[in-house]
Symmetry: C2
Subunit: 254 residues, 2 copies
Amino acid sequence: MTGRDGGADLVAIEPSPVVILVRPQLAENIGAVARAMGNGGLFHLRIVAPRDGWPQARAWRMASGANRILDAATVYDTVPAAVADLHRVFATCPRPRHIIKPVLTARGAAAELHAIGARRLRAGVLFGPERAGLDNDDIACADSLIRYDLNPGFMSLNLAQAVMILGYEWFIAREAEAAPRQFQTNEARIADKAELENFMAHLTRACDASGFLKNPQKRPGMVRNLRHFFQRGEVTTQELNTLHGIISELSRPR
Amino acid sequence: MTGRDGGADLVAIEPSPVVILVRPQLAENIGAVARAMGNGGLFHLRIVAPRDGWPQARAWRMASGANRILDAATVYDTVPAAVADLHRVFATCPRPRHIIKPVLTARGAAAELHAIGARRLRAGVLFGPERAGLDNDDIACADSLIRYDLNPGFMSLNLAQAVMILGYEWFIAREAEAAPRQFQTNEARIADKAELENFMAHLTRACDASGFLKNPQKRPGMVRNLRHFFQRGEVTTQELNTLHGIISELSRPR
């Protein structure tokens, strides 16, 4: 089931979603991910805080020729930085965590990714580190969750396998792309994650100043919950401006 | 996207098709295959002529707890021996090879595997060695081909990834299993591969004796073509008996 085809011709099939590896441990796995991305026609790879630094020759050795994907990969310190220019972020997450977010199968997410691309919005998918998976703060950066329909009796899914399944579904679903769905009007522009982050910072500062977040033990969870809430649907830049205005207004010294 | 769940509870979800690795090179890949099988709810593993022998501790180290699958794996010298007790055999094959056999996608094959299981027939899927893939003689042992719908610009598919995609589709398609389809009647029994092999041996002996296969350069291809022909549909034991009778009759000294 292998072939000798190199990856010299690998290019992005646009609109190709971004694969974001969060704190990956083994460079070999990053290389294996690139290979799986090549199989699935994915191209854009971002790496958040790789344990052993970047670049690593071991990744290229494991990529079986998907070098262009690794050559073009970019590295970030944090998940918010890695998703700043994206409009929609998905998080792969094996278990439900009592979070109110849409949960999609890989197949459903693939259809959604194509629909997002057809609207010329940029999407990314977060994959957690090899053992622990994504933590709550990572997941708080996502709009939707992806849960794979796989044997619940054996959940240990290799990182490259997780990327492979998404890439496989994405490649199969590319036919559906031809039919564009809902487009935003010219008036409304979907905020990207950096704009949302800017708003969240504003909101958090205001909450801190007001004493709303004064309990240091409860603060992280409360901030996360706020983040979940504001990520639930697509927020337009106009809506964000309005929300900024409300916070500024409410937090003015009285 | 990983978890800490061990594989201590791994059992076969029947009717679980057999994964048959043909001449695999790296024991690590056999272990990674077992892990992917665990994810997809597959259990039965057969290994044909592993390059480095069997068992190999490296396989268990790569299996992330799918030990039961490796413990239960069986080893064979040849593909015909590995498929002898099966009724339907699929071969994963990245490129069409001018062979007249049904070609299925992974998704189509998964549905077919469930339909076969619902009829209480045993099925297996052949996966070739890491670099070369299955050769023509291997493919001649199969009834149908499976061709994955993946990026044709980057065909280098890891062995465990190939098994993962099949297992993933098989696990998703398990719902369809509830509705049984066509059953054979009590009178007709589908021949297993050993019975078919026995017939092929009879046919080949008769052809050799008659001089039909006397050109040594053409012989392998001709035998393979005969094998392709007789594998095209399911053959019942009654039909095989009839064919045996015809050959015996035709090859009687006159």
